[in-house]
Amino acid sequence: MTRREIAQQVVKITARELNMNAADIKETDNFAMELGADSLKSIELVAAFEEEFEVSVIEEEALKVQSVGSAIDFFDKLLNKQ
């Protein structure tokens, strides 16, 4: 997957899980501060990304991801490494 495709998926899943409009989500958005994802919601988001990208992430590394852009980079690195 290209970074662009990953970005589209990350935004789509984020919008679905946080019940938001995808158009309102920017790469610079912080999941907690701007999108209101508390730690519980963050776990659901990670689980949704895992299912969508068919990968299993290392939990402690996933928890370090703070923004939409860093999530895109995280999965880009993970998927394209595999």
């Binding site: 907690a32 776990i43 659901e44 990670v46 689980a47 290392i58 939990e59 928890l63 370090k64």
Partner: protein, 662 residues
């Protein structure tokens, strides 16, 4: 105490000092008595008084011993006691030496008083059925089996006989212990007060016992009203607390107008402001806030947020619904739980739940409410810094100082009890995951909505925690064995468990005491058949469970390790041992990193909201750091960092030892 009947000259002197007697022949005094230290005393019935030459102080002012302005009826007064300004009378009491009783309305005991012993409390189920009798020697364990094991008639009947016998042994005249101070109180009726207790300003005390000792004096303070109660050593009840049918355990703190009825509180509980009804508060149950009602439930190692409430009444057959909050739970501010409910160990409840929750096999979970729907996030509390902090703080905050610690407590957060529940939970989550279509967003579990995506996630968290626990215990034992023998085969032969229990997969929490269910079942049989026939026997049985915990735990680890990895630890190879320490390190580092991340969130952008009001960002940062510190200076975070290093060191040390051993 040697004493002699008063002589005519003594009667004359006492009479001149305003003293009277119904019958002077019934009054005996120590030969060393200073008669000038009796003023306006009415002797009623048989009264004996010891020597009174000393002085006692309350609040720093030394006051002479003796009896002043008091009616004393059928009492034995020990040496160097001061009794002064008693409103009506002190009757039917043995008052031990060096006691101070001043400005008290009355202290009276009836002939058939049992001082709170034998009073039955309707705990857990407000409608009754879980009647639990309180006695001076009550423990969390003997209360638990009374309240929670009603399934076996013979056991219940015989246990009740044992408790009643013990309760009756406490009848007799009232007793006020040595060095006790009772000052500025209202009526005290049928209350025993133990040695070194300090009772000051209590409004009314009726039918109770204040157990106390030199090592840990018990205190009752201002405006307390207590009826049908027993306080254990080191308890402190003050500032307007209202108790009715209550047991207050060792080192419990209670006050600030807290009210409780039909409730038990065991070691180190704290109750302020709020209300308890039919509460079985196991060790470390804490409720500090107003508007918090804990009702009809059993809790332990529990923390109640403000406004916490449960409902035990569905307006059908009365208040008959009960709740079980397994050890380590927390409820957030204004959380509400509809009973019946059963919350798994170390779970956090947030929000209002109008569904009957039944999730004991999903410990360490978050149970939250959103838009009126109750949801569970299984295993999420495993990597909360709060859980780590709680696990460390409880043993350190064991404030009991009495020579005998009545409640037997196993503090372990990760134990066969919680690990076995996680194993069940993991298997249930995997089975649900496999049987649930990807089209479904949620499944229902124990009345809760569970996001399908979290089925595998929860199972993964539990698997990590199970792996960490089993490999930690296994590697620690292997390391110990290698210290004892240089030869590998000899060393690992030491890993064979010495416990020989049959059902090691079933554990129970006897209100603080973790034990295999098999041991509790054996106790049940012994009581039912009469071979455990006294209260002392009962205490010995529980002590034996406590003493055997580590051996039983090891048998559990040994057998569960085989179930999980198909490896018998007494036949483990060095390669397998190396794999075990690697598995442990992987899980431990993973958890540790998540907990560290969680702790660092306490210093993240959200934590800084509201700091440096109307000032620059830089000032906001400085304000926050001044108040909260930083992750670099916070002791909990730094301890976690240190622990991360220790994990790596332990791994390296074990690996080196393994590769160099014979």
């Amino acid at each position: 105490m040697k004493s002699t009947r008063v002589t005519l000259s003594q009667i004359k002197k006492l009479s001149q000092q305003g003293c009277t007697a119904h019958n002077w022949k019934s009054v005996t005094l120590s030969p060393q008595c200073d008669l000038s230290r009796f003023r306006n005393v009415a002797f009623i019935g048989k009264v004996t008084v010891g020597k009174n030459g000393g002085s006692l102080s309350d609040g720093g002012t030394e006051m002479p011993c003796g009896i002043y302005n008091a009616a004393i009826a059928d009492c034995t007064v020990g040496d160097d006691v001061r009794i002064a300004n008693i409103g009506s009378a002190i009757a039917n009491y043995f008052i031990d030496k060096n006691a101070l009783i001043e400005n008290v309305a009355s202290i009276v005991a009836g002939a058939d008083a049992t001082f709170g012993n034998g009073v039955e409390l309707d705990v857990v189920n407000e409608g009754g059925g879980r009647g639990t009798k309180i006695i001076n020697e009550l423990t969390a364990q003997t209360a638990y089996v009374q309240a929670m094991m009603k399934h076996n008639d013979a056991f219940t009947r015989n246990l009740s006989t044992i408790i009643e016998k013990k309760a009756k042994s406490h009848s007799g005249p009232g007793h006020i212990g040595t060095h006790t101070r009772i000052v500025h109180c209202g009526a005290i009726t049928n209350v025993n007060i133990g040695a070194h207790a300090y009772v000051h300003g209590a409004q009314s005390l009726e039918n109770g016992t204040v157990n106390s000792c030199k090592e840990h004096p018990t205190e009752i303070g201002e405006a307390v009203q207590a009826k049908s109660f027993i306080l254990a050593e080191g308890a402190r009840v003050d500032s307007g607390a209202i108790l009715d049918k209550v047991y207050v355990g060792q080192a419990v703190k209670m006050g600030k107008q807290f009210s409780a009825e039909n409730s038990l509180f065991f070691a180190n509980c704290e109750g302020f402001h709020g209300e308890a009804v039919s509460l079985f508060a196991g060790p470390y149950t804490v409720t500090h806030h107003k508007s918090t009602l804990l009702i009809a439930g059993i809790f332990s190692f529990y923390n109640a947020g403000s406004g916490t409430n449960q409902s035990n009444h569905m307006y059908k057959l009365g208040p008959v619904h009960q709740g079980v909050f397994e050890r380590g739970c927390k409820t957030g501010s204004f959380s509400y739980v509809l009973l019946e409910g059963h919350i798994g160990a170390f779970s956090v409840v947030i929000g209002k739940h109008f569904t009957n929750i039944d999730a004991p096999n999903l410990p360490f979970s978050y149970i939250q409410e959103g838009e009126g729907i109750s949801k569970i996030i299984p295993g999420m509390n495993l990597f909360s810094v709060g859980t780590v902090r709680d696990g460390e703080k409880w043993p350190k905050r064991d404030n009991r100082k009495a020579p005998v610690k009545r409640d037997l407590i196993i503090f372990d957060v990760f134990s066969p009890y919680t690990v076995e529940k996680m194993r069940r939970g993991r298997d249930e989550l995997i089975a649900l995951s496999e049987s649930t279509s990807k089209d479904k967003a949620y499944v229902t579990y124990g009345g809760l909505q569970l996001n399908r995506l979290l089925l595998r996630k929860g199972a993964k968290y539990y698997s990590m925690a199970i792996a960490r626990y089993l490999n930690d215990k296994a590697c620690a034992r292997i390391a110990d064995a290698m210290e004892q023998s240089d030869d590998w085969n000899s060393a690992i032969s030491l890993l064979k468990p010495r416990s020989r229990l049959k059902k090691l997969g079933e554990w129970t929490d006897v209100c603080g005491l973790l034990t295999p269910r098999e041991r509790l079942a054996t106790l049940e049989e012994k009581v039912a058949c009469g071979s455990c026939g006294s209260y002392d026997d009962l205490l010995k049985e529980f002590q034996s469970m406590y003493d055997n915990y580590r051996a039983d735990e090891w048998q559990y680890v040994y057998e569960t390790f085989f179930k999980e990895y198909n490896i018998r630890l007494d036949a483990i190879t060095k390669e397998q041992a190396l794999a075990a320490i690697e598995e442990w390190q992987k899980a431990a580092i993973s958890f540790h990193s998540m907990i560290l991340e969680d702790s660092k969130r306490e210093f993240g952008p959200i934590a800084k909201i509201g700091y440096g009001i109307d000032q620059s960002d830089e000032a906001m940062e400085r304000d926050f750091t001044a108040v909260r510190g930083s992750s670099e200076t916070n002791s909990v975070v730094q301890k976690l960092v240190k622990e991360g290093n220790e994990i790596r060191q332990r791994y390296t040390h074990f690996k080196n030892k393994l590769t160099t051993s014979g």
